[in-house]
C-alpha cells in the first residue's frame, strides 16, 4: 500500500489508564493532507498534538466523570486516545492547523510550497 501516512512499527505506550486508537480519515489533495480523527468526550484542553521528526503524535485526554447508578448497558468504554502517524510527505510544520469540532479533530497539514504540483502553461504557436 502506498500510504503517505502510516503507523510506526515500534513505540510503546507508556501512559496510564485505558487508551484507544481513534478512527481516522486521511485525505490528500495537491495542497495538503487532511486528517479527521474521532475523539468523542475530549475538550480542546485535552488535546496534545505534536509534529516531530516526521511523526504526527496525537494524545487526547478524556474528562473523567464518575458514574453512579446501576449500569443497564455498557457498549463503550471511556479512555484517552493515542495514535502516531509517520508523515512521508514534505509538510510545512509551521502551518499545521487543528480544530476540534464536536468530538472530531480536524488537522490540516499543508505541503511545502516546492512539493505542490505546479501548473505549467504550454504555449502553442
Amino acid at each position: 500500500m502506498n500510504d503517505t501516512l502510516t503507523l510506526p512499527t515500534n513505540g510503546e505506550v507508556t501512559r496510564a489508564g485505558k487508551q484507544f486508537l481513534p478512527r481516522v480519515d486521511i485525505h490528500e489533495t495537491d495542497q495538503e493532507l487532511l486528517l479527521v480523527a474521532e475523539v468523542p468526550g475530549v475538550d480542546p484542553e485535552g488535546i496534545d498534538l505534536r509534529f516531530e521528526r516526521g511523526e504526527l503524535v496525537l494524545y487526547a485526554k478524556v474528562k473523567d466523570q464518575p458514574r453512579a447508578g446501576n449500569p443497564l448497558l455498557t457498549e463503550f468504554e471511556v479512555g484517552d486516545y493515542h495514535r502516531v502517524f509517520r508523515v512521508h510527505e514534505s509538510i510545512d510544520a509551521s502551518k499545521i492547523e487543528a480544530e476540534l469540532k464536536s468530538g472530531l479533530l480536524v488537522i490540516h497539514l499543508p505541503k511545502e510550497e516546492q512539493h505542490r504540483p505546479k501548473q505549467v502553461t504550454v504555449k502553442v504557436n
Partner: protein, 146 residues
C-alpha cells in the same frame, strides 16, 4: 490423595499461556477492527438511578440539531440521525475508517418515564440524555406503623 491438590489451571506453563492470551486480547482491543464497523450505532451506555435513567452515546461530529430524539409509549427512546462525511473535496483517500449514513437506534427502558421532562445535550461529540422516571415508577418509601 496428594494428586488432587494439583491444580491443572495454574503453574508456569499455564501462566505463560494466560499472559499470551490477555496480551493478544489487549492488542486487538486497541484496533478499530473491521467487524466493529458493523456494530450497532451509536454505542450507548445506560444507567438506572432511583429517579431516572441516564444515557450517554458517542456521536462524534454530530450536533443536537442533526438528531431526532423521541420518546414513545413512555418507555421507548429513539435516536435518529445521519453521519455525513467531513471531507468532500476532491483528492485521494489514504484512510477511511469512519462510517457514514443514516442510523436509528431504539431502546426500551425497564420503567415508564416522564416524556415531557427528558433532557438532552451534546458535549464534545457525546450525547447525554436524562429521562426522569414517571411518578408511578419511582421507588416509594413505605411508612411502617409501629
Amino acid at each position: 490423595m496428594r494428586l488432587s491438590r494439583i491444580n491443572p489451571w495454574s503453574g508456569p506453563l499455564f501462566n505463560q499461556l494466560n499472559r499470551l492470551h490477555s496480551e493478544m486480547n489487549r492488542l486487538f482491543e486497541r484496533w478499530p477492527n473491521e467487524e466493529s464497523r458493523f456494530e450497532t450505532f451509536p454505542p450507548v451506555n445506560l444507567w438506572e438511578e432511583a429517579d431516572g435513567f441516564r444515557l450517554e452515546a458517542e456521536l462524534p461530529g454530530l450536533k443536537l440539531e442533526d438528531l431526532d430524539i423521541t420518546v414513545t409509549g413512555r418507555n421507548q427512546l429513539t435516536i435518529k440521525g445521519e453521519r455525513k462525511p467531513e471531507v468532500t473535496e476532491n483528492g485521494q483517500a489514504h484512510r477511511q475508517e469512519r462510517m457514514f449514513g443514516s442510523f436509528v437506534r431504539t431502546l426500551t427502558l425497564p420503567a415508564l418515564v416522564d416524556e415531557n421532562k427528558v433532557e438532552a445535550r451534546i458535549e464534545h461529540g457525546v450525547l447525554h440524555v436524562y429521562l426522569p422516571k414517571h411518578e408511578a415508577a419511582k421507588p416509594r418509601k413505605i411508612q411502617v406503623k409501629g
